[in-house]
């Protein structure tokens, strides 16, 4: 399923927001129920073309995230399928209780699209970094949490979300990424994808960090370390059997995500491992409010680079021998 012939780091890069808006337009074309809901975030969500195509169906409530999510819930009550599209930091931080009560607990058919998540906003600083979103949303019942890794997976996850009934959160990356999947990729909820087979150690990742994990595996391969790379687009529900298999079959697991290093994907993997098959896991993430720096700088700074991930994997393998 995955393309691993050339080094992933050398492939062209894409802003997943482009796939987002293309797919949303395509879905909206096919299903009149689909509407967008934004908080003055038309430009930052790249929705100008959508607005042009569907002027009535892009609802801009202004800079008002609580209202945005409440309005989406009401639109769903009226039979619409709202795709809420706002910077992930504000969508999740400012409207968390609305997400809990009006979306998850009310079980409304709302799709929450967290734009420019993680440290995509780089120099704009921790107020604009959305590294807590996964941990925050994972704690809420009845909410699916998806972190796509490339434009293909972003599109596929959106299509799946539009077709499924119920609350979904999808991160839509701004940091450009290479394609990880073939065009025929089919999103399956709660399923890990083995993007690279391997038996020495396992790298579990998603979002903008997945390709870095693949690049780390390429690097490890040159040293004779065979790293399995699991893409884990669905953080909730987690593919626990893939995690358990990794714990059982390899020397340990490195999780790597553009998120706080506790409570997110790493936390979900740790909770699975300790309960089902204790094994060594290294959790890579962003452990503190980030200093000033571009998104790329910050990922490297916190060891979320191919080198950083490879180093963590190497330590696990060395310890195992």
């Amino acid at each position: 399923m995955s393309i691993v012939e050339t080094s992933i780091a050398d492939r062209p890069r894409y802003d997943c927001r482009d796939a987002y808006v293309e797919t949303l337009a395509e879905l909206a074309e096919a299903d009149h129920r689909i509407v967008g809901v934004v908080n003055d975030s038309v430009g930052s969500s790249k929705l100008n073309s959508f607005r042009k195509a569907f002027p009535d169906r892009l609802i801009n409530v202004g800079i008002a995230e609580q209202d945005m999510v409440g309005v989406a819930s009401g639109l769903a009550n009226g039979g619409r399928i709202p795709f809420v599209s706002a910077a992930s930091c504000f969508l999740t931080g400012r409207a968390l209780e609305q997400i809990k009560a009006d979306v998850a607990y009310s079980n409304t058919n709302v799709k929450l699209c967290g734009m420019s998540p993680g440290v995509a906003y780089g120099e704009l600083g921790p107020t604009h970094h959305s590294i807590e979103d996964i941990a925050w949303l994972r704690a809420i019942s009845n909410l699916t949490v998806i972190v796509p890794a490339d434009p293909i997976e972003t599109a596929a996850a959106l299509r799946w979300a539009a077709a499924s009934d119920g609350p979904v959160f999808i991160r839509v990356s701004r940091m450009s990424v290479p394609k990880v999947y073939d065009e025929d990729y089919a999103f399956r909820l709660g399923r890990a994808i083995t993007v690279r087979a391997g038996d020495d150690v396992t790298l579990i990742s998603n979002g903008t960090v997945l390709w870095r994990a693949i690049a780390a595996a390429e690097q490890l391969a040159t040293e004779g370390i065979s790293a399995r790379v699991l893409s884990m687009p669905t953080v909730k529900p987690l593919d626990t059997s893939a995690v358990v298999a990794a714990a059982r079959e390899t020397a340990g697991i490195v999780t790597a995500e553009e998120a706080v290093s506790g409570g997110g994907l790493g936390g979900a993997v740790a909770e699975t491992v300790v309960q089902q098959h204790p094994a060594r896991v290294t959790i890579l993430g962003i452990p503190e409010f980030a200093p000033t720096g571009s998104a790329g700088y910050l990922l490297d700074h916190f060891g979320l680079s191919p080198d950083g991930i490879a180093a963590a994997a190497r330590r696990l393998v060395t310890r195992g021998t």
């Binding site: 509407v35 009535d56 169906r57 609802i59 409530v61 202004g62 008002a64 609580q66 209202d67 999510v69 409440g70 309005v71 989406a72 819930s73 009401g74 639109l75 769903a76 009550n77 009226g78 039979g79 619409r80 709202p82 209780e97 609305q98 009560a101 009006d102 607990y105 009310s106 079980n107």
Partner: protein
Amino acid sequence: MTLTVEHTTMPVLGRLPIHSSRAEQVAHIAEAARQIRIQDLKLVHYAGAGHIGGDFSAIDILATLYGAVLDITPDSVTDPERDRFILSKGHVAGALYTTLAAFGFLPVDDLATFLKPLSALNGHPNRRKVAGVEANTGPLGHGLPVAVGHALSAKLDVSLRRTYVLVGDGELQEGSNWEAMMAASQYQLDRLTVIVDRNRLQQGATTKETNDLDPLPDKAAAFGFAVVEVNGHDHGELLDVLSAVPFRPGKPTFVIAHTHKGHPISFMSNNVAWHHRVPDVAEFQQALTELEAVAPGYTKELGMTERSEGIIKHSLPRVSSAPGAKRGRG
């Protein structure tokens, strides 16, 4: 004390035929409200929990809506074209359940499960469990944004279905409401009606002592709403106003319903202690006696001092067509 089916004695009142006169409608609502109060009193007393003050302040509004205004019946709870009512002050779930039972949405016997383990009748309404509930409320300041969303969906559908939302006055301290009001005005949602249960009390004190809402009519008007004030215990006034919206084309409506918490019980009325106090046996008996003595059709006279200072006057057109019937539904 345990709540049992013996305590669910309320008759199912249902709706009057559509050609009933206004006087008949008003009398019917009044009797429904009285029965709902009696039943709700029993729920709270025997279950040992609830928000009776806010229940009693809102029941006349709920009875008017379900009894004669909303285009929704037990058979149309999933009809996409039904009117929507959202109880934003979700802590008066008991009043909502009882009202739903009075009008046939919920078996009266089910009320005996109120607050019991695994019951559908939680302390705050749950749309996944109770037919007729449109949103899971409880945290204040959620219902109005949801109502705006629904009203927007109706507008997108070019539908005449209406959206009503009942908010507490203390609840209006939540900023989320003002976000929603700004958007409602921007989108000219004139089939949206916000009803404020203006009992001037919140959980711990008066609204004035806590965070004064006044001049509330000015606030709502400045946020783009057509503002109407009514006596929230006068079924006739409520019926006229709630069926006649919108008052200004292109503007959502803000109905300030002046009420008393705990109305009309002598020792509860306008007494903040009754926000979530539970009546003991003597209090229960006394309240029951008072409710049974109330003639159907009673209203509470609210002095003008209890209304806002800067009243915005609106002519309140009498509803000539049958209440509850949506004129011109397309």
